[in-house]
């Protein structure tokens, strides 16, 4: 099953298979464990969390420009 992922702040959308790890999701979105955070239903999850069907997933790039 595919799960929709919103990427913030770019506003992009990705689709991934359920079961993918949060860390791999960060890499798919072009980030790593330091530069991004995965939120599931608005709450941060650790890198080894596996995305489930029905999760509302957001990947946030935490590096701000300056």
């Amino acid at each position: 099953m595919k799960v929709k992922v919103r990427v913030v702040p770019d506003g992009r959308h990705l689709e991934v298979e359920a079961g993918v790890k949060a860390l791999d999701l960060l890499k798919l979105a072009g980030m790593n464990s330091e530069s991004g955070v995965v939120l599931v239903n608005g709450r941060p999850v650790t890198e080894d969390y596996r995305i489930r069907e029905g999760d509302e997933v957001t990947v946030v790039r935490v590096l701000s420009g300056g």
Binding site: P9, E34, V37, V45, T46, V60
Partner: protein
């Protein structure tokens, strides 16, 4: 799902360089203990201090504001927040809203200074008129207003929101360009110059950018996720951030090691050789007889606007009705 290494509750973060999982509550405590340690280790704040926290509406200043307002009771200091309305369209409207919400939530007095009210122009308009890059004009105006408000408040320190990632890349950039005297300004704290400038402290000196984001999120401090529309993601700073963070992923702790060592060696870097004098218009810090804010505004409007800025800020400060601080060494 991973469990908190302290209490076994559901983990929200993994601290790579400590190999620890932390839950919501223990993560917040962990960031606060880092800030508390940095304040003591680098002697940033003493009892009875009045600390000015400039808030942009972004995550880092939100984190500084929340953490300092909590720690202010423990250390016995006072916190005042400042938001500068830059007039950068919708972004500034939302930034101001987030800053007001955060200050209200924490019960911290807030001063809002509008660049347009002082100069008659927004930041993008000032930049166009001066034919200068918008970020350089913005930086100049913000630095001036922050220092001005701090002086008028009789503040003892200005708490900036630079996190460990910011400071690591600023110093790397300065090393690459061999602007070594700039590194001397990137330490955890800079000193005040009586009557002219209030010293700056960096409570997030050892807090990673990701930790700062998570702290603001988990403490439910209102902040804006959006970036300023003028941010250039191809700038050297932003490219270096990507590189240092892939290094950090491979070698956890490299950023913190770099910054701790930098703090120890900061005195070995050459100090900028700029002369310290007083602006003949506004009386604040300048390197010649005219400060850069008065020079810029004189070029654009025909009038140096430092004195007008002081007037506006003085009445904003008075309307806060804070306890007077005659004893402060920094009041001019």
């Amino acid at each position: 799902m991973a469990k908190c290494s302290i209490c076994g509750g559901p983990a929200v973060a993994y601290i790579r360089y400590q190999r620890r999982y932390l839950c919501d509550r223990h993560f917040v405590e962990y960031v606060e203990s880092k800030i508390r340690r940095a304040i003591s280790r680098y002697k940033m704040i003493r009892q009875g201090y009045r600390v000015l926290v400039p808030v942009s509406g972004g995550k880092d200043s939100a984190t500084v504001l929340t953490a300092l307002s909590k720690l202010s009771r423990e250390f016995g200091f006072e916190v005042v927040a400042l938001h500068i309305d830059l007039g950068i369209g919708d972004y500034s409207v939302k930034s101001k809203e987030a800053s007001i919400k955060a200050a209200n939530k924490l019960g911290v007095p807030l001063i809002v200074v509008s660049v347009k009210e002082i100069t008659g122009y927004t930041i993008p308009e000032l930049a166009r008129k001066a034919r200068r890059p918008v970020c350089s004009v913005c930086g100049l105006v913000k630095r001036y207003i922050i220092n001005l408000v701090a002086v008028e408040l009789g503040a003892d320190a200005v708490a900036l929101g630079h996190n460990a990632d910011d400071l690591a890349v600023y110093s790397m950039k300065s090393f690459i360009t061999q602007d070594l005297s700039n590194i001397s300004k990137l330490g955890p704290k800079t000193e005040s110059i009586k009557g002219l400038a209030v010293g700056r402290i960096r409570p997030l000196y050892e807090v990673y950018e990701k930790e700062s984001y998570l702290y603001a999120l988990l403490t439910e401090t209102p902040f804006l996720h959006e970036e300023c529309p003028n941010v250039d993601f191809s700038s050297m700073e932003n490219r270096l951030k990507v590189h240092i963070n892939s290094l950090e992923e491979e070698k956890p702790g490299v950023k913190i090691t770099m910054l701790r060592n930098m703090a120890k060696r900061i005195r070995d870097y050459p100090k900028p050789q700029l002369p310290i004098s007083r602006c003949r218009h506004c009386g604040l810090l300048s390197s010649g007889d005219e400060c850069s804010f008065c020079r810029l505004t004189k070029r654009i409007t025909g009038q140096p606007l430092g004195p007008r800025a002081r007037e506006v800020v003085r009445s904003l400060v008075a309307s806060l009705q804070l306890a007077p601080r005659q004893d402060s060494a920094y009041k001019s």
